[in-house]
């Protein structure tokens, strides 16, 4: 359980890295945000704010990828200054995007022994001051390689960072979260859906026992349109055949392939300073490759707990797995949200969000 949350609302990020992994583009990797979390924690410690950041939730309100939209999308590139001989510099392809994000960070207090806890209800002035300092520190940092633009006034929205204590009582925490999530609308939160990959593999193995996880990932990452027939296998009587992806029916959610971390290519790490040209000679080094899974963009009003929103980094040095894990639970099959039942599912909400 998180002690408190630090919310950095409506950050305008300019020219963030749009290439999330060697195989995906369109949004920075979730590891960019866990990296930001650690960097922010270090800078906060330097600034005298004793907070420990444990997890990060990402809600995207707006995005503009710097691409040209044709049948194939291509990145808008930059031309670099000429070299010393006056010749044009080589063009290095890079993907950039502008983002409007809300970051939700799970926070615990780094408390000196015998010091009174500061992260308690009733200490609002201190919390507001810390949140303000965090916003100041973040303004000078890079988010996923992009610059943080100054906040713009947005009528009716909080644009200043805020810190709030998470209630200990589960019921109080749930109603608290219901209040918070309303502020993050309209927008989409990125949550993990590892179960999609597992289900797809199961599905593929039914007809092709030799199918691998990569096959399953590629299969689920695309639309597999096919002509739909009725139960008897007969084409519709009017001759108008419906083409659909049977595994991605209407209402199955905005599921996207993402990278979630790194897996080691070797059994053990090289000792510090053993590898030439390493970025940091004081730390052990291990060669890794990206780990792929699935994520889903989900409107925050569909989330019912803070933990469902958060991504937490997870390290297993023996297995060589350095990945981020989302707290979002895999939906139970018969509870899947379809256009027919989502209204009834949402009925228990007192703050149902009306689409127009």
């Amino acid at each position: 359980m998180s002690q408190a949350i630090l919310v950095l609302p409506h950050l305008h990020i300019q020219n963030a890295n749009a290439i999330g992994s060697p195989l995906t583009h369109g949004f920075p990797s979730i590891t960019a945000f866990t990296g930001l979390m650690w960097a922010l924690e270090r800078k906060l410690t330097q600034a005298g704010v004793p907070l420990q950041l444990q997890g990060v939730g990402v809600i995207c309100h707006d995005h503009q990828e710097q691409v040209t939209r044709g049948y194939v999308r291509s990145f808008n590139l930059t031309r670099n200054p000429v070299g010393k001989d006056g010749n044009t510099a080589a063009i290095v392809e890079e993907g950039r995007m502008h983002l409007q994000l809300t970051l939700v960070l799970a926070v615990a207090e780094k408390r000196a022994r015998d010091a009174p806890a500061a992260l308690v209800p009733g200490n609002e002035t201190q919390l507001a001051e810390w949140a303000h300092r965090a916003g100041d520190v973040l303004a000078a940092m890079r988010v996923a390689g992009g610059s943080v633009l100054p906040p713009r006034p947005m009528p009716g929205r909080r644009v200043r960072p805020w810190l709030a204590i998470v209630a200990q009582d589960p019921q109080a925490a749930a109603s608290q979260f219901q209040r918070w999530r309303r502020q993050w609308l309209p927008g989409f939160a990125l949550v993990g859906r590892d179960d999609v990959l597992a289900h797809r593999l199961q599905h593929l193995r039914a007809s092709r026992p030799e199918a691998t996880l990569l096959d399953a990932w590629l299969h689920a990452a695309r639309f597999n349109y096919q002509p739909m027939t009725d139960e008897a296998g007969q084409p519709p009587p009017d001759g108008k055949v419906l083409w659909e992806d049977p595994l991605r029916p209407k209402g199955s959610g905005w599921v996207v392939p993402i990278s979630v971390g790194y897996a080691a290519l070797e059994t053990s790490a090289h000792a510090a300073g053993q590898v030439r040209n390493a970025r940091d000679t004081a730390l052990p080094l291990r060669f890794v490759e990206s780990v792929y899974s699935f994520g889903q963009w989900i409107s925050p009003h569909r989330l019912h707990s803070l933990e469902h929103l958060l991504w937490r980094p997870e390290t297993d040095a023996t297995l060589g797995l350095y990945r981020c894990r989302s707290g979002y639970p895999a939906p139970v099959a018969d509870e899947a949200v379809t256009p027919e039942n989502w209204l009834s599912l949402a009925d228990d909400d007192d703050d149902i969000y009306h689409y127009t």
Partner: protein, 352 residues
């Protein structure tokens, strides 16, 4: 092995002058006070039937073929941005964040080198401060160099720089940009009222541990309906775009790339050979000027950034004061040295 200091194999600096994209708005000169309600300028697409006018290859110069070729129309689709017929003034607005910590590498894998580098930068700051560089950056805000082609042919250009704090402006400076010369950064520009003060604010940001935020607004009286010039996108696959010129837009509004603003702001290098005739050029490690396809700080002249930095740090030969300013300006610009670990974004600027 001796204890001789060697260059870190991984060394990168983040930029310390961080401009945003500049967004274009249109309105009337006399309504400048209400400019917050001006409409953003949109980019239009137009298709034109042009003529063939490019130089033809020798083998095509058979008169019959030539006639046939040049009689063909040259159809093309291009993006264009122009002021509306009832608006005569272009407003260009961006924010500039001035960050402290110059000389602190964002990546460096050699602790002794890092220590030496910090000591050297500290020595420079104690001796000279950032006053000289900051005044030059301030001059480039005041003279409207960041407007690029929009500055040419303008009837009048008014630049307002505000220092922002907590969402509001705490200090304001106004400049008449056209009265300031972009070719000199020394004599004439220093006469502009308030420039010294703005320079001190920027110097404070570069030296401080926090950051200084400036909002720059320029009003350019162009004449109603005149064409204006946002940045052009560099697209390798022109076929996909379906047009031969694509202009940059942010959220539907025409804009100038942040890289291009940054390039204009750091056009302060008057310490290279030949500066008397050419005027200031952008701070680049090799003094390269893309529009001329030339580099003015060739390694053989021993005036390029890498030679100067190595002499200063590794051989303890402090360069002349002007070249020290240049080395610091490159560190403020942001640079990725030796190994291409991360692309120094600040050295990218868009094709125009």
């Amino acid at each position: 092995m001796s204890d001789k200091l060697t260059t870190a194999s991984v060394l990168a600096f983040e930029r310390k002058l961080d401009p945003s994209d500049a967004v274009l708005y249109a309105g009337r000169w006399e309504d400048r006070a209400q400019s917050h309600s001006w409409q953003p300028l949109s980019v239009q697409t137009k298709s034109v039937r042009g003529t063939i006018s490019n130089r033809l290859k020798a083998k095509d110069q058979d008169p019959v073929k030539l006639d046939a070729a040049i009689e063909n129309p040259n159809l093309q689709t291009v993006d264009i941005a122009a002021l509306p017929a009832q608006a005569d003034t272009l407003k260009v607005q961006f924010t500039l964040r001035v960050l402290g910590g110059t000389g602190t590498p964002s990546a460096c894998n050699s602790a002794p080198y890092r220590a030496k580098l910090l000591a050297t930068v500290q020595g420079y700051v104690q001796q000279h401060g950032f006053a000289e560089l900051a005044r030059r950056y301030a001059a480039n805000l005041a003279n409207g160099r960041f407007l690029w082609r929009n500055r040419l042919g303008a009837e009048s250009v008014a630049v307002t720089v505000e220092q922002m704090q907590g969402g509001g402006s705490v200090k304001t400076w106004d400049f008449d940009a056209l009265s300031l010369d972009t070719r000199t950064l020394l004599a004439i520009n220093n006469e502009a009222k308030g420039l010294e003060e703005l320079g001190q604010v920027i110097a404070g940001g570069l030296a401080g541990s926090g950051h200084v935020l400036l909002r720059v607004t320029a009003f350019v009286r162009q004449g109603a309906g005149q064409e204006v010039f946002p940045s052009q996108e560099l697209i390798l696959d022109k076929g996909a775009a379906g047009k031969s010129k694509t202009l940059y837009q942010v959220g539907g509004a025409a804009a100038i790339h942040s890289q291009k603003i940054g390039n204009a702001l750091r056009t302060i290098d008057t310490w290279y050979e030949g500066a008397e005739s050419l005027g200031p050029i952008a701070v680049e490690p090799y003094g390269s000027v893309t529009t001329q396809g030339r580099a003015y700080r060739q390694p053989k002249q021993k005036m390029d950034f890498y030679t100067l930095l190595d002499n200063w740090l590794l051989k303890d030969q402090a360069p002349p004061v002007e070249q020290q300013h240049f080395v610091m300006a490159v560190l403020i610009r942001g640079v990725c040295l030796v190994m291409p670990v991360e692309q120094g974004r600040s050295n990218d600027y868009a094709l125009h």
